[in-house]
Amino acid sequence: MHKKIVFSVVARILFVVSAVMLVPLGWAFYDNPASPEVRAFLITILVGSLISLLPRIVLRIKKEDFNNLNAKDGLAIVGLSWIVLSLLGALPLYLTQGVPTYTDAFFETVSGFTTTGATVLTDVESYSRGILFWRSLTHWLGGMGIIVLYLALLPALGQNAFQLYKAEAPGITAERIQPRIKETAKILWLVYFLLSALETGLLMLGGMSLFEALCHTFGTMATGGFSTRNASIGAFSPYIQWVVIVFMFLAGSNFMLHYQALCGNLRAYTKSEEFRSYFSLIAILVIFFSLALRTEILGGGVLRKAAFQVVSILTTTGYVTADFDAWPPILGFLLVTVMFIGGCGGSTGGGMKVARVFIALKVAVRSVIQAVLPNAVIPVRYDQRPLDNRIIMQVMSYFVIYIFLFFIGTILFAFLEKCDIVTALSAAIATLSNIGPGLGLIGATKNYAWISTPGKWLLSFLMLAGRLELYSILILFSPPTWKK
């Protein structure tokens, strides 16, 4: 690894985020210029800028050095940036004494950047708007990706921008809309921004204040799940709930498709096999849940509640409007299963991604057919095209590592917290897939505040690994990464 270059790029990214923090600072200042929040944000911004200036002075990197960036460096930059950003982003919450320990602040920030939405705050409504705004803004930044934002805004990193883009963008293959990564990154952020603006407008039409509309838009478009209310979206009208359902659905599908649709090619949606699978999956689950809940929920809105919970969990958002813990066990179990799947590639959603799961299923089916017809040549098709063996291998190994991490996480968590198995299982998958609420002690109406310090670090690790699609974080723990 080229440590100097990696550190200097991480520092540059840190600078971007320090600059973005001026927005919540502004909000806190507008509310009350003398509040501790203003002081906390100022300190954080100062610390962030100082740290990001350090490599400039100490390392003296030349422009040409960036050409040496390789795939390993790209992964390391992304992994390290996310950790450093979360460490910095946790400062405001910690400095204002909003949470008892730094671990809590770190957990909350990681949960924000990774768009998980698992919270340690027991009474959200008691916090100031500056802090809540920053909390939701971490969602929005992490949703489309901080590195992608950096690539879109700042001067190009030479020829190697793709290494970084690939390491952060979710999905099987990182696609380019435009030949130049910078343009691709710009388009993605533009589509993201437009959809966010649209949702904010629609939420305000439903009677939300600008502040709440923005916070909930960030939570929805990034498939995050932080709310400004204790009752989450359940505190708002059915109209707002439907708006959020629609935008969660959009956020969980591939943004490249949205771009093509904006360019006038609406058929892009039906042409994409992943989108069709995603759509059918949601449709089937919503119908099933509605039928199953027909007799459970009194007072109407069955379809809305079923649709909200299904879409929220599948897209890995984690907003809730009903306590699904109290639903029949089969439905809870189905939701946990769905947690593994997550959104589409190229979306802001987490999980294993729809395409990976369906490809893995097709490979499994193929192996069964192969057992019957040993000499048959059976290609695995996706989007009408046969898949390369290399991609199949990547998908399968991703699948295996994911399941492996899930079990390790569950076992460690159960060991650390001495909790019941349902809580342990759902905590591991709800963080690994960046969802937020699970079952049992971390159910829809509960939170993560009770978990011990080591437990919170474990879950923070799972959240980061899940958001960055495993490799960026896992390589930081492998010794060859740190060798020259």
Binding site: Q159, N160, A161, F162, P179, R180, D388
Partner: protein, 452 residues
């Protein structure tokens, strides 16, 4: 500009790399998925896996609104088809690599109607002409021609015996000298010096000089009084390059020997060129070299397709007495190693082709670009546009970028060397010498400002 490159070989790769750095929108079509995956990682361009001659693949790259299509696969036929198809689909300009001489002639004879190709690139031919220029200019380190060979750029290491040594530049610049020349740059201890009148030339300086074609013979005797035209040349490899070189040199040089390992190739070659003596055997064997008469050789040219054998045979030839050694290489990675070895001139046909194509792409007033190897300098040939800045006043009243020099001007078939009073007119051919970083500024001087 939207550019589609077909074929990610050494030419395609380097082109894509340079062009994407220059902020062009680059699509690269490559058949081999492994190569494509590597390109995807290393170059900021969109890679499409597929055959360039497949209309679907071309359309996937958005050929209909491409500004330029560059077909540089190994196969001439595919390159022609790519250009033909992309012209039909609406690509604005097309460049093709065509190696086969006869195919090139045929295609050129009906170019507009059939294949609609603007420019042809033949790396082997470009390299062969480089070699011929070196052979015809003994002692030269680098050679480049401008204005169809009427203006020459040559670089030499001054030997201690040179008449130039110890002279001020003023002494050398006499207006009425019948064989004019202009020293545009000196490299001394690795530093580039743009000479003024007071600069004194020293032995072992590397000088770059611009001169009209007719001055060359006299100029060479100034450089080194002992110099003489080459009389014996040994060429290794009956390749396309070897054949062009042998054929052209045989017009002026009587003693040319060609060494070829493959019996069939050697026989075919001997059949085509009867003025050349052909020896069958490996040039990496001293017995074969001795048989070719290596002690008396003025130049040894190794241009087989195999870089390793070129290198080995050139080093051996030098050891055994060849005065100048010239090799061609396929693999650009070797250039830095070769620098450290005792080989006089190295030519990489593919990189030369890349240079040529880049020149066509950059366009805008520039006719020709030569990247000089040892200093970060370029020699450029401009055709000043009507009413461009450079045509409005004599040179001394214009402000040029630092360390640049306007050298020679071709005006109605006559070559002039520029001085402060020279007034450049539009449509002339002007050769300038400047640092890499000032190319853009130079270009602005020679082109009309666009007003939107």
């Amino acid at each position: 500009m939207k550019i589609i490159i077909v074929g990610a070989g050494i030419i395609g790769w380097n082109l894509a790399d340079s062009l994407s750095r220059e902020n062009h929108e680059v699509y690269l079509i490559e058949l081999n998925p492994d190569v494509a995956a590597r390109v995807d990682e290393k170059i900021d361009a969109k890679v499409i896996v597929g055959r360039g001659s497949d209309p679907d693949v071309l359309q996937q790259a958005g050929v209909h609104d491409a500004d330029l299509v560059i077909a540089v696969t190994n196969a001439d036929e595919i390159n022609l088809v790519v250009c033909f198809l992309s012209a039909r689909f609406g690509a604005k300009r097309r460049i093709a690599r065509v190696r086969s001489e006869s195919l090139l002639q045929a295609v050129k004879s009906f170019r507009d109607q059939q294949f609609a190709i603007e420019e042809f690139i033949n790396p082997e031919e470009v390299a062969a002409h480089d070699i011929i220029r070196v052979v015809k200019t003994p002692g030269a380190r680098e050679v480049a021609d401008f204005a169809e060979g009427r203006i020459l750029l040559r670089s030499f290491n001054l030997p201690a015996s040179s008449t130039f040594c110890g002279h001020r530049m003023d002494d050398l610049r006499t207006e009425d000298f019948p064989w004019p020349f202009l020293i545009v740059a000196i490299i001394r201890d690795g530093e580039v010096i743009i000479p003024t009148g007071a600069t004194v030339l020293e032995a072992s300086d590397r000088i770059y000089a611009l001169l009209p074609k007719d001055s060359l013979g006299e100029f060479l005797t100034f450089i080194d009084p002992d110099t003489r035209q080459m009389r014996k040349v040994i060429i290794c490899g009956a390749t396309h390059i070897g054949e062009i070189v042998a054929r052209e040199l045989s017009e002026t040089i009587n003693d040319i020997v060609l060494i070829e390992e493959d019996g069939d190739l050697a026989e075919q070659f001997a059949g085509r060129l009867n003025s050349v003596r052909v020896i069958k055997g490996s040039a990496a064997e001293s017995a074969i070299l001795k048989e070719a008469g290596i002690e008396a050789a003025d130049a040894f040219i190794a241009s087989t397709p195999n870089d390793h054998s070129n290198l080995v045979s050139a080093v051996l030839a030098k050891k055994m007495g060849a005065k100048t050694t010239i090799i061609t290489t396929q693999q650009p990675d070797y250039l830095s190693i070769i620098d450290a070895m005792d080989i006089n001139v190295v030519i990489n046909p593919r990189l030369r082709a890349v240079d040529q194509i880049l020149r066509l792409v950059r366009g805008k007033g520039i006719r020709s670009v030569i990247n000089l190897l040892d200093c970060d300098c370029e020699a450029l040939e401009f055709v000043p546009e009507e009413n461009s800045a450079v045509t409005r006043a004599p040179l001394k009243e214009l402000s040029f970028p630092k360390n640049s020099i306007v050298g020679a001007i071709l005006r109605d078939k006559d070559v002039f060397l520029a001085n402060g009073n020279t007034q450049i007119r539009s449509g002339e051919r002007v050769v300038v010498f400047c640092q890499d970083k000032s190319v853009k500024k130079m270009q602005d001087l020679f082109t009309r400002k666009k007003i939107f």
